[in-house]
């Protein structure tokens, strides 16, 4: 941990990312209780009002809804769904990738072949088709589908993390002690292979934010009345000339959040993988 703190001081970009992410989390947690406007109320008096007018700090959209409120509420859904998908896909990836890599041989070969096939369908295309076909983009469905779409990639990372320390002495020692396979995989190997996996979880978090925003943009993500940043962009694209703020602020929200998480994951990759 000390090492991380030292590295963080030497990497100001990562510190900026950490502060930005913390700011978004705080905003998502306490923001809604201090907002002046509801995120769904349509103010018919002030449609497309510019930032600062009529008390709307970031302006309103074509329906007169407050952009700031929608962004703050949107941060809740995107942060929670992205966090869940990155955790679920990583847990599933570790379970599958570890089993394949640990047992090796034919199981592993068949598994890798299967992953190759699944990875040929881009995750965005897979999620879009399945969500569109289901016609259900509830938080649960979205989380489940995106997690599944990301699992082949996380399984690959987990597998190679396991392979890098599978043949070490402490693994043989545990085997001679007669420990179970599950014990060796998750108690002996996992803590030693945690670096690349942690990096993968944070990178996956960034990817998930991009994916959920993109799905919202394509109209197959979270459905109204849940405000979604990607959806806000496509909804207001037609008024980009009259009210550029209505698309720019949600875009900047996405940009700041993903860049913040990417800076952190980049930093973790440098600190946990490349140094060792």
């Amino acid at each position: 941990m000390n090492k991380l703190g030292y590295a963080l001081r030497r990497n100001p970009a990562a510190a900026v990312g950490l502060v930005a992410l913390a700011a978004w989390v705080v905003l998502a947690l306490v923001g809604p209780s201090v907002l002046r406007f509801s995120h769904t109320a349509m103010d018919m008096e002030s449609q497309l009002s510019a930032p600062g007018l009529n008390g709307h700090a970031l302006g309103t959209d074509a329906l007169g809804r407050d952009i700031l409120s929608r962004i703050v509420y949107g941060s809740r859904s995107i942060l929670s769904v992205a966090l869940l998908t990155s955790l679920f896909s990583s847990v599933a990836g570790v379970a599958l990738g570890f089993s394949a890599g640990y047992f090796g041989g034919k199981i592993d070969a068949a598994f890798m072949r299967f992953l190759d096939i699944l990875m040929a369908i881009p995750p965005l295309v897979l999620s879009m088709v399945v969500l569109g076909a289901l016609g259900d983009s509830s938080v649960g469905a979205l989380t489940l589908i995106v997690s599944i779409a990301y699992t082949p990639a996380t399984a690959r990372v987990a597998r190679s993390a396991l392979l890098s320390c599978k043949s070490l002495e402490y693994v043989d020692a545990a085997r001679l002690r007669g420990e179970s396979h599950a014990y060796i995989m998750f108690v002996e190997i996992l803590p030693n292979a945690i670096g690349p996996i942690l990096v993968e979880v944070t990178a996956r978090f960034a990817y998930s934010i991009m994916m959920i925003a993109s799905l919202g943009f394509l109209g197959v993500g979270l459905q109204p009345p849940t405000p979604d940043w990607g959806m806000m962009v496509i909804e207001n694209k037609t008024v980009i000339r009259e009210a550029p703020w209505a698309v720019l602020y949600p875009s900047l929200a996405i940009a700041s959040l993903v860049i913040a998480v990417s800076l952190i994951s980049d930093f973790l990759a440098k600190a946990l993988i490349h140094d060792e």
Binding site: A13, D116, I117, L118, A120, I121, P122, P123, L124, V125, L126, M128, V129, V130, G132, A133, L134, A206, M210, A213, S214, F217, L218, G219, V220, G230, V233, I234, K237, I240, R241, P244, V247, L248, S251, I254, A255, V258, I259, V261, S262, L263, D266
Partner: protein, 320 residues
């Protein structure tokens, strides 16, 4: 080498067949009756039953797969379920052509750009210019395509009024008469790809500059410029070629977002409208094409890598 090529091509064919099965099964899982969907909720059960019969929906799944796959091999992608009477092949390839043009335009911008800046960052590693390029690469890579697209649109179309806001082709005109519509979509793709490729190029360059043979060349007293261009660059380009090839399939997936943002009439926007209208045969055709691009470009990259790397070319293909 020849046996290696055959092996790779055989593996590719097998993957494509497995792919088509996965896609077929995926579409099979879509709930609801395809015939009912075409005829609408008000259709009589008899009408639905006779359409099911005509479409062969009552046949076993394997027979339907065989019929579909056989059709695809003959170039027959079937009939659209949403636009009645439209053969998919009649609209499909024009859209694919438009997407390939867009991909090629992006390619022409991002490949030289990211290689030049990646090399620059690599040979100046740790300096200010490297930090700026690296941060820019990370930031652009982190932006979803529609965010960079919106930012470009707000700047070039709304503020500067230089480029069209939508990338539609006017009726009766061809893409070639409207090349300016390609610029913003291609730049949006460039934003994302620049991050991946320049970062890869940077780290490859750093690795090569530290290698013994480059240090030997420097110690021999060769001018730095000559060492970089004659000795280092050639080897540092190898990983970049791989990352570009591996990302071609990804690029086609990303086009869905870019084409939707700009209303560009390519394969991506066709895929989205197929999903929105639940046009199953069209979904199958689009997804199969996108995955085929991925599989073929991955195999081609693999082969190209082997060809470019003499250690593999002469060892008879024992590489992994």
């Amino acid at each position: 080498m020849a046996s290696l090529v055959l092996k790779k091509l055989g593996g590719m064919a097998l993957t494509l067949v497995a792919m088509s099965l996965v896609i077929f099964m995926l579409v099979e899982l879509i709930p609801g009756d395809a015939a009912q969907r075409i005829l609408g909720q008000s259709a009589t059960p008899e009408a639905v039953a006779s359409l099911r019969e005509a479409m062969g929906l009552d046949d076993p799944a394997l027979a339907r797969y065989a019929r579909w796959a056989g059709g695809v091999l003959r170039g027959d992608l079937g009939e659209s379920a949403y636009m009645r009477g439209v053969r998919i092949a009649d609209i499909f390839w024009r859209r694919v052509g438009a997407s390939i043009t867009l991909a090629a335009a992006s390619f022409l911008i991002f490949v030289p750009l990211s290689i030049v800046f990646g090399v620059l960052a690599g040979i100046r590693a740790g300096k200010l210019s490297d930090s700026i390029i690296s941060f820019f690469g990370l930031a652009t890579m982190a932006l979803p395509e529609f965010v960079s697209g919106i930012l470009l649109m707000a700047l070039f179309s709304v503020r500067l009024k230089l480029l069209p806001i939508a990338s539609m082709i006017p009726m009766g005109e061809s893409l070639w008469q409207n090349l300016e519509i390609l610029v913003l979509p291609a730049l949006s793709v460039t934003f994302v790809m620049f991050g991946y490729v320049s970062r890869m190029q940077r780290s490859a360059m750093i690795g090569v500059m530290k290698s013994d043979y480059v240090r030997a060349a420097v110690l021999k007293g060769l001018p730095r410029r000559r060492v970089i261009f004659r000795h280092a660059l050639k080897n540092a380009l190898l990983p970049t070629v791989t990352v570009i090839g591996m990302n071609m399939g990804w690029l086609f997936g990303g086009l869905i977002v870019v084409e939707t943002l700009f209303g560009y009439p390519g394969l991506g926007s066709l895929t989205l409208s197929a999903v929105k209208t639940l046009d199953l045969p069209l979904i199958e055709a689009c997804v199969l094409f996108i995955t085929a691009v991925y599989v073929i470009s991955t195999t081609a990259t693999d082969l190209l890598y082997g060809f470019l790397n003499p250690r593999i070319r002469f060892s008879g293909g024992a590489y992994e």
